[in-house]
């Protein structure tokens, strides 16, 4: 079975769909575009395709090849194996994505994707220049080690990424029963929102069932429109700042750390963690919001619990 490079085939489709969205948003006023924001997103996407060519892709290929040499079993390249691999890869995506929000080391790469205050198809292409290699090695190698061919693992990962392109839009509202199983624009708008009500939710790639299973699903509330971005939005469209600001933040914090525990907290703790609690993790933000809403807040605001976006 041959596995085509579908990302390469998809690039013309990206162009057509972005132009179609531009026209429709202009006509319907459902959604927003800002040329400089889109330029930043598209440059980030362009760079993310080039970044692995600096050597990381070779490293991943070597790790996959070694893992496949020592695989537990040989899973044939047949249709049901592709389907099984896709579902397992989607589960892998869920956990990778969740950890990318809960641990600052991974967030430093993933923050790029959330750093736009806009939500349109160009936002989908705002991808990281860093972190792809480690993510592939840590989270995809187990599938190869299990016995799926590396080409199949790469293929289903690409399908998953392609699926996520179209859900970055405000043009599509709710989608009925389709939303019970699949990730949709509505579900993913919640994921990109900074409203406290929506934080830490909807990490799914293709199948929303993982969020429903693991307790991270939040439905879009018609009464509360999502506001996109990160807790501490960037003050620039500069792609270099977009790409590296959180890494610089980690470096700066580590340099002023007073103990190894603080170094570990700043590096691998939740985004927004600080030794004295002077910054806010997403759990603390949710707790504050509940308090201000006058709700009966459960005590889940421990500094090391379910934090997502940096609030330093």
């Amino acid at each position: 079975m041959e596995f085509p490079d579908i990302i390469a085939f998809a690039v013309p489709a990206f162009l057509v769909l972005v132009i179609a969205e531009l026209v429709l948003v202009r006509l319907t006023r459902r959604g927003r575009y800002e040329a400089r924001d889109s330029a930043a997103s598209l440059i980030m996407g362009f760079g993310s395709e080039l970044a692995p060519l600096l050597g990381g892709a070779t490293v991943v290929l070597a790790v996959f090849t070694a893992a496949y040499e020592f695989r537990l079993m040989t899973i044939p390249n047949v249709w049901w194996a592709v389907l099984l691999c896709f579902v397992l890869d989607d589960l892998r995506y869920y956990w990778w994505h969740r950890i990318s929000h809960e641990r600052r080391w991974f967030w430093a790469s993933h923050v790029v994707h959330h750093s736009s205050q806009h939500y349109n198809l160009t936002t989908a292409l705002r991808q990281t220049w860093t972190g792809q290699i480690l993510a592939a090695i840590l989270f995809k190698t187990p599938l190869v080690f299990l016995g799926f061919h590396p080409a199949m693992v790469a293929f289903v990962g690409a399908v998953n990424l392609l699926y996520q392109f179209w859900i970055h839009t405000e043009l599509i509202n709710r989608m009925g029963p389709f939303e019970w199983v699949f990730n949709t624009p509505s579900h993913h708008r919640v994921h990109h929102a900074t409203n406290p009500r929506y934080l830490d939710a909807n990490y799914a790639g293709t199948l929303i069932i993982w969020d429903r299973m693991f307790g991270t699903f939040i439905e879009e509330d018609r009464a509360e429109k999502p506001r996109y971005g990160i807790i501490k939005n960037l003050g620039t469209f500069n792609p270099l700042v977009i790409s590296f600001h959180e890494w610089l933040g980690i470096l700066r914090d580590v340099l002023k750390a007073k103990s190894l525990k603080e170094v570990a907290g700043y590096t691998f703790g939740p985004p927004g963690w600080s030794p004295d609690g002077s910054r806010m993790t997403s759990a603390m933000i949710k707790e504050r919001w509940r308090r201000m809403q006058g709700e009966d807040a459960p005590s889940d605001a421990a500094p090391d619990h379910h934090a997502t976006q940096p609030a330093e």
């Binding site: 390469a8 690039v11 990206f14 162009l15 972005v18 132009i19 531009l22 026209v23 948003v25 202009r26 927003r32 575009y33 800002e34 040329a35 400089r36 924001d37 889109s38 330029a39 598209l42 440059i43 362009f46 395709e49 080039l50 060519l53 205050q117 806009h118 160009t122 409203n195 506001r227 971005g229 807790i231 501490k232 939005n233 960037l234 003050g235 620039t236 469209f237 700042v241 590296f244 600001h245 959180e246 610089l248 933040g249 700066r252 002077s278 504050r288 919001w289 201000m292 330093e312």
Partner: protein, 134 residues
């Protein structure tokens, strides 16, 4: 695509230029300014427990600075169509007055220098300790 990295890169850059050009054509910059009302609305979302008591609004509509009840400060600046906020504990913001402008350097890697033109720039500059922003 063609499989040739150089050619593919050029095609991608051309496609980016087309998309950005259309975005600029369909959605020209609106030139919105930062008003106290806009800044207050944004602050209420980003920093709901901040209570502004005094405001400095940039005469050119680029930013607004609010002083809170506890002497803490919140800066709201414009980025394209949107606003960006930064909050500083009392005495932790770096700022200077120069040529009738209050120049603020938030100091975090995701921010840039912001200048507020106002007759009160020098007055506000004197409020701030030079200890550096958090």
């Amino acid at each position: 695509m063609t499989g040739n990295l150089f050619v593919d890169s050029l095609v991608s850059l051309a496609a980016i230029a087309l998309m950005v050009g259309l975005a600029r054509l369909f959605f020209p910059a609106s030139g919105e300014t930062v008003t106290q009302a806009r800044a207050a609305e944004r602050l209420a979302f980003d920093e709901p427990d901040f209570r502004p008591v005094r405001w400095l609004i940039d005469g050119e509509g680029r930013a607004a600075l609010a002083e809170g009840e506890a002497g803490d400060l919140a800066l709201v600046s414009r980025l394209g169509l949107d606003l960006v906020t930064r909050r500083f504990p009392a005495g932790a913001m770096r700022a200077d007055a120069a040529e009738g402008k209050l120049v603020i350097r938030p100091g975090d890697p995701g921010s840039r220098k912001v200048a507020l033109a106002s007759d009160d720039a020098a007055l506000w500059a004197r409020k701030f300790s030079p200890t550096g922003a958090k």
